[in-house]
């Protein structure tokens, strides 16, 4: 699977003194879109891919090359080699904002800084906090909002509004250098990869569209439901309040790109979430 345009290997010494070889391979491979006989064609055009255990190996119908494979243990995520400047810039920013030294388990703190300065001297080094810190805060926020009004629908609206506000501003920060008024398709793809990677540390697993303003995004391992589990005998197994905020995030992000839309979602078995974006003409 390795790409001929492979980069030189950078040896980065881990904090613990153990030398690790980061084999950074990247290349603008044009992923062929392969529709599997479904009415929806998959336009997801890959712009960079990781060499080893990329997602397409897990026989998902959509050969999405997984931009950042959060559970790949040994090699660094795909890095764009000489491609469009805007694209490269966006790669670097997203690259640096979603390096998680824990997932890779090999990158020490300062070797991460040192590696970042090579890649993107200009943008400020983003601050990171522990994922469980946000997780504990998120649990409490949802509980607080749901309790703040007796009517469940009203509480869901509040969560949706909160998500909208955050999504709108978050995308503002992330898309500093994408085209001012990106196309509809590019915006959705941006959300599937860059936005999703920043918030959920993985990209959307599947994107489909009917080219008439309806997009279906599938996240087969929705991060914010990973630790959630019901009592087997529980009658009410509704955990939609933990996903409603994300629907708001998507809506806010899309509105920042200039597209007004309705976002609905469906929680399937284990922790798969399918988000449907309907663009309002």
């Amino acid at each position: 699977m390795s790409d001929p345009l492979s980069n030189p290997t950078i040896n980065t010494t881990n904090v613990g003194g153990q030398t690790t070889t980061q084999n950074i391979i990247g290349g603008i491979g044009s992923g062929k879109s392969n529709s599997v006989g479904t009415p929806y064609t998959t336009p997801l055009q890959t712009s960079a891919h990781t060499a080893a255990n990329s997602l397409s190996a897990t026989n998902s119908p959509i050969p999405t090359h997984h931009m950042i494979n959060s559970n790949s243990s040994n090699n660094l995520s795909g890095m764009a080699t000489p491609g469009g400047p805007g694209l490269q810039q966006q790669q670097q920013q997203q690259q640096q904002s979603t390096i998680s030294s824990n997932n890779l388990g090999l990158l020490g703190q300062q070797s991460q800084q040192q590696q970042q300065t090579i890649l993107s001297p200009i943008t400020t080094q983003p601050k990171s906090i522990s994922a469980s810190c946000f997780e504990f805060f998120y649990i409490e926020m949802i509980d607080c909002i749901m309790k703040s009004s007796s009517d469940k629908q009203h509480a869901h609206k509040k969560l949706d509004k909160l998500g909208f506000k955050v999504g709108h501003r978050l995308v503002e920060r992330l898309s500093l250098d994408t085209a001012l008024f990106p196309e509809l398709l590019d915006s959705v793809k941006f959300i599937c990869k860059v936005f999703w990677a920043m918030v959920f540390k993985k990209t959307i697993d599947g994107l489909k569209t009917n080219h008439k303003g309806v997009f279906v995004l599938t996240d087969s391992k929705f991060q914010w439901l990973q630790h959630l589990s019901f009592d087997s005998s529980a009658s009410n197994k509704d955990c939609s309040e933990y996903v409603q905020f994300t629907a708001g995030l998507i809506k806010g992000a899309m509105s920042n790109f200039g597209f007004k839309c309705i976002v609905t979602f469906d929680i399937q078995q284990v922790s798969t979430c399918v988000f449907t974006i309907k663009i309002e003409s």
């Binding site: 703190q109 983003p126 990171s128 994922a131 469980s132 810190c133 998120y138 918030v199």
Partner: protein
């Protein structure tokens, strides 16, 4: 002692899974503005934030104990160092400093540097010195310490959002709790 905990704080922070702090900053900001809308009375917002922090603290302490492997602190002074150097670093990736101990070592101030909650936040004039924007942190400390048998009171005494030079939390040890005595046992 604090050098030892500095190193531990960094080690644990390097190990834990991390995310970009902007999501946290923006979500927290949205929540605070929502609370201001819901409660109007700023003092109620402060109380609500502290209460939310408390509910977070009673869960967060378990992650802290499990991931940092910290043993029992010999005294309140060591507890303060652990909070500042390990707790704040492990969860928020920032450094905090302990100072201004009172005579009988029951009260100290925690000075927080580059608190991610207040990134890009401009507090409107009417809220200055009224809204304790990061009051959730006081609740987290109170909740966490209560789970390890220390009843404390935490309040913001200085906040850079209200044009103070630093952000400082005053932590007062009110009581050391003992284990629950089961019924029927002396």
């Amino acid at each position: 002692m604090s050098k030892k905990y500095d190193k531990l704080g960094n080690d644990v922070f390097n190990k834990v899974e991390k995310i970009n702090s902007e999501l946290f900053t923006l979500t927290y900001g949205a929540l605070v503005t929502q609370l201001i809308k819901d409660y109007e009375d700023i003092e109620q917002v402060n109380i609500k934030l502290e209460q939310m922090g408390y509910n977070i603290g009673i869960r967060l302490i378990e992650e802290f104990l499990a991931k940092s492997g910290i043993g029992r602190c010999s005294d309140f002074i060591e507890t303060a160092e652990v909070i500042a150097k390990v707790g704040f670093k492990m969860f928020l990736g920032i450094n905090a400093h302990v100072g201004d101990w009172d005579a009988d070592r029951k009260e100290f101030h925690l000075t927080i540097e580059d608190n991610p909650l207040i990134d890009f936040v401009e507090l409107p004039e009417q809220y200055k010195h009224k809204l304790y924007y990061s009051n959730i942190l006081c609740g987290v400390i109170r909740g966490a310490l209560e789970m390890v048998q220390m009843k404390v009171k935490c309040t913001f005494v200085k906040c850079t959002l209200s044009d103070d030079t630093t952000s400082e939390i005053k932590v007062v040890l009110e009581e050391v709790l003992s284990d629950m005595i089961p019924v029927g046992y002396d």
